[in-house]
Symmetry: C2
Subunit: 91 residues, 2 copies
């Protein structure tokens, strides 16, 4: 099914973009050691949402959705941990 493969390439490109988008936030947070302006609640809800997208991707067998959301969960959890550490872990 070449058409389906083309669709999955679009999906994989979308997944790569939305997933790597968190890297600049992680780098910025690591450099400035300040994620004060970043909403904790946003990343808590986002992590729950990515987990649901992962389940959805598994159910409808959409590979791009599955792979993208595994990485998205890893990055959003990293931001949550960094924010928590920089807020509470330091003087």
């Amino acid at each position: 099914m070449p058409t389906r493969i083309f669709f999955e390439i679009i999906g994989i490109a979308a997944g790569i973009l939305t997933t790597v988008s968190f890297i600049p936030q992680i780098v910025k947070g690591y450099r400035t050691k300040n994620l004060e302006g970043v909403s904790l609640l946003m990343y808590l809800i986002l992590t729950s949402g990515f987990s649901m997208w992962l389940l959805y991707g598994i159910l409808i067998k959409a590979l791009a959705v599955v792979v993208a959301n595994i990485f998205a969960i890893a990055f959003s959890v990293t931001i949550l941990i960094m924010k928590s550490y920089y807020t509470h872990g330091q003087k």
Copy 2:
């Protein structure tokens, strides 16, 4: 197809979570008038990614993906505008 409807409900729940997750960031930014810690590059890449997801959702006819990404684009563009305004528009 009741099974497909169940899958779409999971997808819609996922879409609602990841989409509404941006609301706390918008509210926090509006209250503090400070989005300095938030990465501009993240939201630029994220908006491009959501646009690709929207295209993917249209191609594979996944309603949840389409609806979620229309809202996601609206919210991420809002954060981009707010960040730009608070950074450059004010003294």
